[in-house]
Every structure is written in C-alpha cells, then in structure tokens.
Symmetry: C3
Subunit: 263 residues, 3 copies
C-alpha cells in the first residue's frame, strides 16, 4: 500500500492523550514514542478539559476500569468531541462483566467515536452477537466478522477495526481486510491496547479520511510486528522489544512492500 | 521431576484473575501469557463477583495497596472461596508498615487461601518471627525456614512457599525444597509477583493436589529462570526478557532434566 | 570524574520510596535495582508516615497525578523533611495543565526539596519563563538554561537538574554541565522518571553534599545510557533493556573514563 500518514506522524509528532490501564500504560507510551508520536497518559478529572485541548487525538481503553476513570473518560471524550479531535475506543474485555458492558454502552451513547478497535469477541459483544468471551482474550464464536464490522460501523457512525489473524476494517460503506501480523501478537499483553493507541496517532494526522488512516495504521502496526517476528518462534519477550524497534524503524518502503490488503 | 501440570495449563489456558500492583501488572500478565495461561487484571469492586466466576484462580498481591483495592480483594476472595477456585496470597512487603500487616491479618482471617507465597521476610512476619525487613526485599533473619513454612501452613490450612536462594514448600505435613534459580531473580522487580501468578496458573489445573502443583510451579519458574540466566552476569534487563522467552519455551523435558528437589 | 557515591549505593543498598506514575513504576523500580538501590513504590496515605521513616530518600513524580496521590505526596514529603532524608521532585508535564501547575506550586510551598529534576520545559515553567510546552515532552523555548537553573535553585534552596542534550546542574552557587547521553533517551518513556529516581539513590548516600551527588548521578545515568546506545540507531526497545544492563554493569572506571563535565 502507499503510505500517506506515517511521514505526517514523524513530522507533526501528534500528542495522543490516553486513558489506559495499568498493564498497558508503559508499553503503549513506548510504542507511540517509537512510531514518532508523543504520548500523554492522564485520567485526572481535573485535567480532562485541558488535555483534549492540548492533544491531537484521544484514546479510551477500559482494561482496568474503575469508577474514577469512567467519569474522566466521559468528560475528556465530550471535550474531544467539541474540539473535533479523533476519539478511539478500545473496549477491552467488554464481554467479561456487566460493569464493562454497561460502561461501554454509556460511552457509546455519550461520546461520538472516530474508531472502535477490538478483538472479535469485543466487537461481537458490542454488536449483540452470541460469543464465548474469555476474559480479555478474543474467545470463540461463529459470526461473519465483515458484516459485524459493517453493522457496528453503521450503528455508531464510525470506523470499526476487528483485529485478529486477519484484520477487518469497515466504515459501513468501505470494508477491507489486512493479512499481515504474527502469531506472537496475542502472546504479548497490551499489544491490542498499543494497536488502538497507534490508530490514534494515524487518525490525528488524517485530515478527515478516517478509513484510510485506520487502514494504514493497521498495515503499519502488523507489518512492524511481522518484521519483528522474523526468526522468532516462542520468544515472546524478544518480540515485544523488537516490536518497539520495528515501529521506530518503520518506513514507507516497508509498508509498500509488505502490506497485504484486500479491499 | 515429572511434570504433570504444565501440559494441562497449555491445554486449558486457565484464566487467572489478579489484583496486583502497578509495578507488576505488565510483567505478571506477560509471564502468564508466556506460560500458556490467560491473565486478567481487575480491581473494580463492581466486577469482584463476576471475575471469580469467570476465572480458574485468583491471585492477591498487596504491592501497591490502597483502600479501594482492599475491599475488592475481600469481595473477590470470598467469592472465589464460595466458587471453590484456588486463591493465592502474595503479602508483598508485609513487614514494612502496620497498614500492610493489618491488611494481611484481615485477608487471612476472612479468606481461605490455597497458597501463601512470599520471601523469607514476608513469611517470617506472618509467622510472628523477629525479622529485619527491608521494604519489599527479603531482608535478614535467623530462623529455620522449613519450620516457619510448616507452622504457617498448619495455622492457615494452606500451602506455603518461601522463595529465595533455596525455595521451601510445605503444606504442614509434606515439606520440600527446590534448588533451582538464579541470583538475577531478586534483581528484577516483580519477579516475585510473577512467581505468585505462575503458582496460580498451576493451582488452577491441579484437581486438588495443591502441594504437588505448587512444587511443580516452583520448579517450572526457577528452571525457566536458570535457563534464562545462562551466560548472563550483570544483564538484568536481558534476564527479564529471556525469562519470558523461557517460560514460553518451557517443556516437560527441561523440568525433568533440570529440576532439583529435596523432599 | 572521580566517582564517590556509586560504591556507597552498592554497599548500603538505600531504600528509595517513590510515589510515581503507572507508566514509570516498573521501569523506575528495575533501574533502581539495577543500580544497586532498593525501590519501594507506595502512595497509600496510611503508609506515608512509616515509609519515609524506613527509607533513605523519597522521590515524588507527578506523571499520572490524581487527588489521592497528592495528599500522600504532601504527607510523605513533610515526614521526610522532619526525618531529614532527601526529597526529589520530578514535575512531569507541569506546563501541560493548570492542575499540574497548582499541584507543583503547593508541593514547592509545603515541602523542602533537595533536588528538582525536569526537562527544560518543566523547569522553565517553574521559573515562570515563557515556554511552548508539549505534553510531557521538553518542548521549545529560548532561555538560558544555566541562569534558569541557578534562579530556581536559589528560590527553592535546592539543587536543580535540567536534563536534555546537555544537562545543567546548579545549587545556585555552583553550576555544571554534563555532556554525556544519547538521542535514544527521549525515545524511551519514563527515562526521565528513572533519572529522578537514580538521583534519589545518589542523594541517599551523600552525607550532605547534594550538588556533588547530583552531578555524579547525572554522569552515572547518562554514561550508562551512552554505553547502552553504542551500535544502536533506531532500536528504542533494545535501548531500554541495555540501559538496565549498563546501570547494573556501571563502575567507577567507566564514570572516570567517560564522564564529560564542564564546571
């Protein structure tokens, strides 16, 4: 694919505001820095008006949700909407508990999202599909992911990215699949959380074409992972370090050569 | 030793619910994933009834304790007891402050634990022994660790694992020592926290023989560390990455060849 | 430079109490351990009188500030002052929001600090200089950093360390610059937070010469980073792992050979 947005991230270093979980905070910040964006992690209610006004995108992740974070998510999300910056939702483990389902329901009703990124189980839960969730893992189910992505995208007027062995991206009208990646991804915790943060960086510089930006984010991240995994089998520790290295070393040539998209 | 439980973890991918600290959250999740289990980190009071019902084991770690976590630990612990899944206690730095001692006293009085895992200073504190604690490190003292382990195991009707240069495991009746490991372990933060989480994964698949499962967990973790440390001297950074790699690459042959147990 | 304090850290293993953020907690703890100090991370209000009494230094970092942490910072800071142990302030992203500015103002008025360490933007904000801050990054401005450091040092009666491509250290009377380091440092999240924690370890063993201890801390940390970066270009993941390795392998000879100071 032809890379449009990666060079803009490196030029503009967009500030990405994240409300994220204690598992992902360090890894997401390092991944954003490696890519060329600037991370800021904050969930203080006192900062949730100023932060979106400083930032070029806002990423909400419910991985280790608590009552205090929830209020901050709502306030920062509404402020981000008013300002017009992209807002990404990562509904981590939404199928696991009623508290997460209820929180996601509220976030989706009060905030206008630019992108929802989750694994198959998480997006299926949002779509109301029958799915055997397993904690924060993808779990199992028998649904057509393309039509689920399209349906959720239409319902919430946003782009949807279902990540997995094949990644599915839809804005309700256009739908594409990305065939890059590595089986090591699901063996590294917070690799999905970082994926959402990376999408935030691409959306921050996209001038409005959110589908194209999400598609390039997906190719960029999974190609970096594919290169990182070269020669590795079971080395999950090395993979997470190399993934940061490869996000840093990523360029338009690698995206052009290695990206495998079906549109 | 003959490995019984490692293959069950890989087959069943038990979901391990952790209430843990901000230092250990990422490393513990990655270590559990590397081994073949599924981690979920949550301390939201709203989820503490559902989480144990989804999970196959529950691990409590008081490393960065606060008031909110404490209530969640009690609720999830009692729910886990009702459901009958194993509950592990990691009394991080219990000797350091009266708040930690009081919290541990309460947890021990209201929750039935399957395993208490700590360093010598932590278990000595629980046993009421005189001990020179040092923050969250093991510190120094002059007690017979085998008899301390036996006594604490009898008092709380659970397995006790005292980790250190030699690891001591007792259920009050049977006592064993494990002679694997590396001097690099105490140079990596949260390596004890991950040890407790790993024990949770073995207990999750043990069909009731908690002493045997803890013993295999101990051998598995310290053998993985021993292999990870091969050729390293001062490289504490590389050690933590290789430890994840070796947990992922661990198999029954390595446990059989390298495990050094005295029973 | 002639190293005085590194060997004392290795002999005394000072306990460094940190109230830090969810991004830095693991990396700061591992860096302190690698250097030879003992980290303890705690922000529970219930422990904020005992912790400083157990510890040899206290480090406050406002990276992911919330209301609860703030009270703990004040109580632990005052207790540390009463006990007479060094207190380090890392005003992460103080220019970003009014909440951070107000919190820093309060901390500076109620706690006597031994050292304030920040990037140019953070220290310029404290000095009341015009500065274009960017989240938690250094940002841009046109001020003489030496005179800013001197002025802030005089105003608060403490040492000030402005970290950057050239590090500036002043106690208001003496001023020095350190010319070690690597362009990879700002590409690793929490590398500044760890810097502050490392300073805490040197101050913990300094017998009162805080300027000299901060200067050696600065040389030690940036020399370790310089060695860690040898042969690396874009590998930000490997750099963070090697930085831990080199903190562990650091010795007086490397500090003597590689330290570049202008006094």
């Amino acid at each position: 694919m032809k890379s449009i947005y990666l060079s803009k991230i490196r030029e503009q270093n967009p500030l990405i505001h994240n409300i994220t979980n204690i598992v992902a905070a360090n890894f997401s910040a390092n991944g954003l820095l490696a890519l060329g964006a600037s991370p800021i992690m904050s969930d203080s209610l006192e900062e949730m008006v100023e932060m979106p006004n400083l930032s070029q995108a806002f990423v909400i992740n419910i991985g280790t949700l608590n009552g205090k974070e929830q209020k901050s998510m709502l306030l920062a999300g509404k402020t981000a909407n008013e300002k017009g910056i992209p807002v990404v939702l990562d509904p981590v483990g939404v199928g696991a508990t009623s508290y997460r389902r209820e929180t996601i329901r509220q976030l989706l009703s009060e905030i206008k999202f630019t992108l929802i990124r989750g694994n198959a189980g998480e997006i299926a839960t949002i779509a109301g599909e029958v799915w055997e969730a397993k904690g924060v893992d993808a779990g199992k189910g028998n649904v057509d992911l393309k039509s689920v992505a399209q349906r959720v995208a239409k319902e919430y007027g946003c782009v949807v990215l279902i990540s997995g062995e094949v990644d599915v991206i839809s804005d309700g009208t256009q739908t594409a699949t990305v065939h890059n990646g590595s089986p090591l991804f699901p063996k590294v915790t917070a690799s999905g959380c970082l994926f959402s943060a990376i999408c935030g960086a691409f959306l921050a510089v996209d001038s409005g074409d959110h589908f194209a930006a999400t598609l390039e984010a997906c190719v960029a991240y999974t190609v970096a992972g594919e290169i990182a995994a070269e020669g590795l089998t079971t080395q999950v520790g090395q993979f997470q370090i190399r993934l940061l290295d490869e996000l840093s070393a990523l360029n338009v040539e690698k995206i052009a050569q290695k990206g495998r998209i079906n549109e």
